[in-house]
Symmetry: C2
Subunit: 228 residues, 2 copies
Amino acid sequence: MSVERTLHHFPLDPASRQVRLALGEKRVAFSEVQVRYWESPPEFTALNPSGLTPVLVETRHQRTTVVCETRAILEHIEEQEPEPALLGREAGERAEARRLMQWFDRKFDNEVNGFLLHEKMEKRLLRMGAPDLGALRRGRDALRDHLGYMESLLQQRDWLAGRRMSLGDFAGAAHLSVIDYFGDVPWKDFPAVRTWYMKLKSRPCFRPILADRWPGLAPAAHYDDLDF
Amino acid sequence: MSVERTLHHFPLDPASRQVRLALGEKRVAFSEVQVRYWESPPEFTALNPSGLTPVLVETRHQRTTVVCETRAILEHIEEQEPEPALLGREAGERAEARRLMQWFDRKFDNEVNGFLLHEKMEKRLLRMGAPDLGALRRGRDALRDHLGYMESLLQQRDWLAGRRMSLGDFAGAAHLSVIDYFGDVPWKDFPAVRTWYMKLKSRPCFRPILADRWPGLAPAAHYDDLDF
């Protein structure tokens, strides 16, 4: 069955990266359109009225389905391309993977990205001036709390949600990978998180993420180093 | 098969209400524990480290599964109790229902609840003093934008996601029902939304929602009126 897929995304958007990792891990081919979401391009807002990346456009037997918003896309891919399973097969595993997805997409996003990425990335994309040092500090403090929580999970488990790699890991890795692009992850203080991230970083699905570059925003020196 | 379910929730929390509506519509029995989430009770934080309601605790053959966070619970219920289907059966319907769930839980929550419910509900629960009038106005303006968007959808569709009632409707109705408790929905300016809400409000699954009362927070006079 021939399916054509196009992902509309922004390379440094953690939500977009989760979807790219999931598609990569499942070896699903797709073409990509990079979206400067902060400029609200009308052709993109026509696809997704919320204006948020990512959006997956899928054409199957001349029938097109537009799937908007990360969670919808991830659940959709899992239903359409079940192998390898990235949510787990058993109810408890699925619940834990989804809990972690929400943890990162809501709590981490509010407490860390809302300060750290806003100051370091969005303000530069939007030409809003210099970062506010108080906001940066607040974001970095919250990041340490989140890393501490991940460290405590990974001292007891192979992967964030349990014994198997899941979308919970991709959610965490997608978020950390963007912050790592800006060199703000204190890896040395969180050894279990560092080992877990090394395992993910060396998977083939991670390669396109490590190749991302955005004009005017250079990555930290160790960003694509597998042995950081 | 005997399954015991307990829902830990706060009656005026839109996220909790989505789950109560879905369980009600599927006629799934459950007992409830009301959580004063703003006090971060330790026995609740032990269940869900994010501290957010709702949490569903399910025991099946002496095996207990703790399902945290709205989206995880709603997907879990859909998998465990597929009838009646509340996400649709076809990929496009499911994508649209999930897009709307994210719309309400993220965009509506940030733009409307973050101002309106924060000022009218959370500040009273937390004894934080009088509402800020500028914030209230900002929330009310955003609410009108969202109602306008819903009105445009409901002029073309029977239900928010299309021809069938879905979790997208429950997400929207759960959010509006809490704002309506405080009397802030300008129903008369959005006739299609009002008709849609009347249909939902008269369903049996809505009855417990309309019976909700919280000490010190009285509902608007028309709150439980089916013909408002």
